[in-house]
């Protein structure tokens, strides 16, 4: 890489805000021709936002973008393409009903007014040969593997004279062999003078492929260094090295009886060999990156996507949990991460939402709903959880995220669970509400509930949990005790840098 070369793409002082979140904060960043530049960071660090600004999906609030030293505006994907910026994603963006050659040339405006099928096929062959990819240009994209579809998209980018190729977690669904093929492609592009921006979660891959590594954290650019100057340790330090600003008022609770014991739990192709215990009064944290399948373990315990191997022992008895009804009758509740889509019925009132899973308790003999009892229950939770709403008959959609979360907690607490599974309970809610939710969860544990806390927010997991289970790609990597857990250890395990065999 020539350090003195003019950067092909330069982002200067880019800021972008969504509602309460500062997704990008004054990020200055440049890509040089003929380099593979890796961009790393935790979930929510701002990587996707940065890419989306480059490809014209978002417009920055502030800052400027320079292409080969000239100011440009990128309004949409067509603009990005005209400027020679292309992206390939984890989910390939091919057209299944068209053949390989058509997929390569579908965006071209310069191939005449009539499709010349023979010429298109030979041109496609040329590009595929150039890349060293063996694909039949006449084959339909429908049957291609993910790796082959990515190759088609790379061929498409080449055909459009790409200057900047963004690869957004391209390796997430590929086999080892396919990854090495992809890296070969990336390197051949680099040697042709293309700037490749590589986004990846697997640090070993990042270090293998990158010429330069840039770390984002909380929307800020933390470091940008040459490959020779970084190690796994420095990258992880830069990724997590933030101050824990939130205050976790963790109560130490006497560990109660064993509540649930999970042995070798698995679901085919999703996760395998998960082992853990939860005692009454204990909070077990689940940490891991996107795709670590943490949520799927929660869904298996709640019977939405039942496990197909292993054993769940609940209160001393081995149980098969095949549906949420079975889970609820045992005393297991699951508060979903997706409040808007799955957790709450937005247009309905607070009271109706709270009593939804337990509606049977509120029916008269004729099957009518006793509305005043419903309201009384809701009123009780409104006081207990300090729910801020005009009345229990207000529609949930009018509440803030934090209050919606409290409604969801109320809903599941009203089912009198023994084990409460919380999936991202504080995502997207502001700091004040977050602290309140933490407080409620701590109270619940103190009253003897077992809690599984699934969260991408590392300080939250560290601050709240008695023990922390770390997953990566469907495998349990480690369980740390509160005393020994640190952000570095968790990130290291989540990135797959080491694997500790844990005796549950």
């Amino acid at each position: 890489m020539n350090k003195n070369s003019v950067p092909v793409l330069e982002m200067r002082h880019i800021s972008k805000q969504f509602d309460m979140t500062q997704a990008l904060d004054d990020v200055t960043f440049s890509l040089h021709p003929g380099e593979i530049h890796a961009l790393v960071g935790e979930n929510g660090a701002g990587k996707s936002t940065l890419i989306k600004i480059m490809t014209g999906v978002y417009r920055p609030d502030q800052g400027e973008i320079l292409l080969n030293g000239n100011h440009i505006q990128i309004h949409n994907s067509l603009d990005a393409q005209k400027h020679g910026i292309a992206a390939i994603y984890q989910e390939p963006m091919t057209f299944p009903d068209l053949n390989v050659a058509e997929n390569i040339f579908i965006s071209h405006e310069d191939r005449g007014s009539v499709v010349n099928w023979n010429k298109m096929v030979t041109d496609a062959e040329k590009i595929l040969d150039q890349l060293g990819v063996k694909l039949n240009p006449r084959a339909q994209a429908r049957g291609l593997t993910l790796a082959a579809q990515q190759a088609v998209e790379i061929a498409k980018a080449i055909s459009l004279n790409v200057q900047v190729l963004i690869m957004d977690e391209p390796t997430a669904s590929l086999s080892v062999h396919e990854v090495s093929q992809l890296f070969k492609l990336a390197r051949s592009l680099r040697d042709k003078g293309v700037a490749v921006l590589f986004i990846g979660h697997r640090l070993e891959e990042v270090l293998e492929i990158a010429d330069r590594v840039t770390v984002l954290r909380d929307g800020k650019l933390i470091s940008s260094a040459h490959r020779a100057e970084v190690t796994v340790d420095t990258i992880i330090r830069d990724m997590v090295g933030r101050n824990v600003e939130e205050f976790f008022n963790k109560k130490t609770v006497e560990k109660g009886d064993l509540l649930v014991s999970v042995r070798n739990l698995g679901r085919e192709n999703i996760f395998q060999n998960v082992n853990f215990d939860v005692h009454r009064g204990e909070i077990l944290g689940f940490a891991g990156l996107i795709g670590s399948r943490r949520t799927d373990v929660g869904l298996a315990l709640f019977g939405i996507e039942p496990a197909d191997s292993g054993e769940i022992v609940f209160e001393g008895k081995s149980r098969k949990i095949g549906s949420p009804q079975e889970a609820l009758s045992l005393g297991i509740a699951y508060a979903t991460e997706d409040r808007r889509q799955l957790g709450l019925t937005m247009p309905m009132s607070i009271a109706s939402n709270i009593t939804l899973p337990t509606l049977k308790k509120y029916l008269t003999k004729l099957g009518l709903i006793r509305q005043n009892e419903e309201a009384a229950t809701a009123e009780e939770y409104r006081k207990k959880l300090e729910l801020r709403a005009p009345s229990v008959f207000s529609a949930v959609e009018n509440l803030s995220g934090g209050n919606q979360q409290k409604v969801m907690l109320s809903k599941w607490l009203n089912a009198n669970p023994k084990l409460l599974i919380l999936d991202e309970p504080t995502r997207g809610i502001d700091i004040g509400a977050k602290v309140e939710v933490h407080h409620i969860v701590n109270e619940l544990a103190a009253q003897g509930l077992g809690v599984i806390l699934i969260s991408s927010d590392l300080p939250e997991v560290l601050g709240m949990s008695d023990r922390i289970l770390v997953m990566r790609e469907g495998r349990q990597m480690a369980i740390f005790d509160r005393a020994e857990a640190t952000e570095e250890k968790i990130m290291t395990a989540a990135m797959g840098q080491q694997r500790e065999e844990v005796p549950a």
């Binding site: 992206a87 091919t94 965006s107 039949n136 429908r142």
Partner: protein
């Protein structure tokens, strides 16, 4: 088997099956009904197919992009009525201008659909259900409950349905059939050889990818609706010419016929696959069955109405059950061929 697979793509096989189906239908009714296939029957079916065939191509345009147009019947009625009304008042209007007027009227109504679907991102089924009612209401409101009468139309338009290009024995190949065939051929070529046509398939095949691909997907959907409307306008003109007497309910139900035709003809309701020839064969099958059943006393009149519905269901079921499997089979075998090819190269 391999050779066979290389020669025919799944969609070509489907067209062959449709051809066989047409033959089977003809043979079946020929054995059931005395003097079934005669010149009169041929002319009746071909006149009806001329209109439904054009509408099937119109519907195919939007179907390819994974959309629908339910307002087609209303557009046909609207143009047939108002072009007719204008023609009654201006008997000396040049025929070319009359046709252009019908096409323009349809295109305008199609553009309203396209505007909402492509740029407003409202589901097409909602938009066109709305305009189906809207266009019909405008027609009823401004028609003053009149009827266009054949007697008041100029001779050229009344005589047009009987205009003959050539005859084979008793069978006449009439001008309207020629117009319809021209439309089919033109759009078969557009779908296959113009970048515009290929992008229609791309959009229906993967709408998300189309948005990211950097070609003007919205504009393409918009123009598909305009073309769909224009063809419906042309069909409206043909409708006026064929029937002469046009009331405010003209064209009602043609949206279902057109959807049945394209679905039976193998245009996928999930977008991305189908052809103009297939749509035409779908139209032929539907008209053939309808017109044959009228002469077949075994089936009661009331059941006849459900035939379209049954055909749609059967066609969609066969599309999901058979065609998707065939396509996957083909895709896999092509990959194998590629692999063999690659191995040979390596050696």
């Amino acid at each position: 088997m391999k050779n066979l697979m290389r020669r025919f793509a799944p969609d070509q096989i489907r067209e062959l099956v449709l051809l066989v189906l047409i033959a089977v239908i003809l043979l079946f009714f020929n054995s059931q009904i005395e003097n079934y296939f005669n010149a009169r029957f041929f002319n009746r079916v071909s006149a009806s197919v001329s209109i439904v065939g054009v509408l099937a191509i119109a519907q195919t345009l939007v179907f390819l992009t994974r959309n629908y147009d339910l307002s087609i019947g209303s557009i046909v009625g609207f143009t047939a009525f108002f072009v007719g009304q204008y023609l009654v008042a201006h008997n000396d209007m040049h025929p070319v201008l009359v046709v252009l007027m019908a096409i323009g009227m349809g295109a305008l109504m199609g553009s309203v659909n396209g505007l909402f679907v492509a740029y407003g991102r409202i589901p097409s089924i909602i938009v066109t259900l709305g305009t189906l009612a809207l266009y019909r209401t405008i027609l009823v409101e401004f028609s003053n409950a009149q009827t266009i009468l054949t007697a008041k139309l100029p001779d050229w338009i009344v005589d047009m349905p009987r205009l003959n290009i050539f005859s084979v024995g008793d069978l006449d190949f009439r001008f309207m059939v020629g117009v319809m065939l021209l439309v089919v051929i033109v759009f078969q070529l557009v779908f296959r050889y113009l970048p515009y046509g290929r992008r229609l398939y791309a959009i229906g095949s993967n709408p998300d990818a189309a948005r990211m691909a950097g070609f003007p997907a919205q504009r393409i959907v918009f123009t598909a609706y305009i073309l769909c409307g224009a063809l419906s306008g042309l069909a409206g003109f043909m409708f006026l010419s064929r029937f002469g007497n046009v009331t405010v309910v003209a064209g009602q139900g043609l949206e279902i016929s057109s959807i049945a035709a394209v679905v039976v003809g193998g245009v996928s309701n999930n977008g991305g696959s189908g052809s103009a020839i297939g749509a035409l064969m779908g139209a032929i099958i539907i008209d053939l069955i309808e017109n044959s059943l009228i002469r077949w006393p075994v089936i009661s009149e009331f059941w006849r109405d459900s035939i379209l519905g049954i055909l749609i269901l059967l066609a969609v079921a066969s599309d999901t059950l058979v065609m998707s499997r065939l396509r996957n089979m083909w895709a896999r075998s092509e990959l194998q061929l590629t692999a063999v090819h690659a191995e040979k190269q390596d050696k």
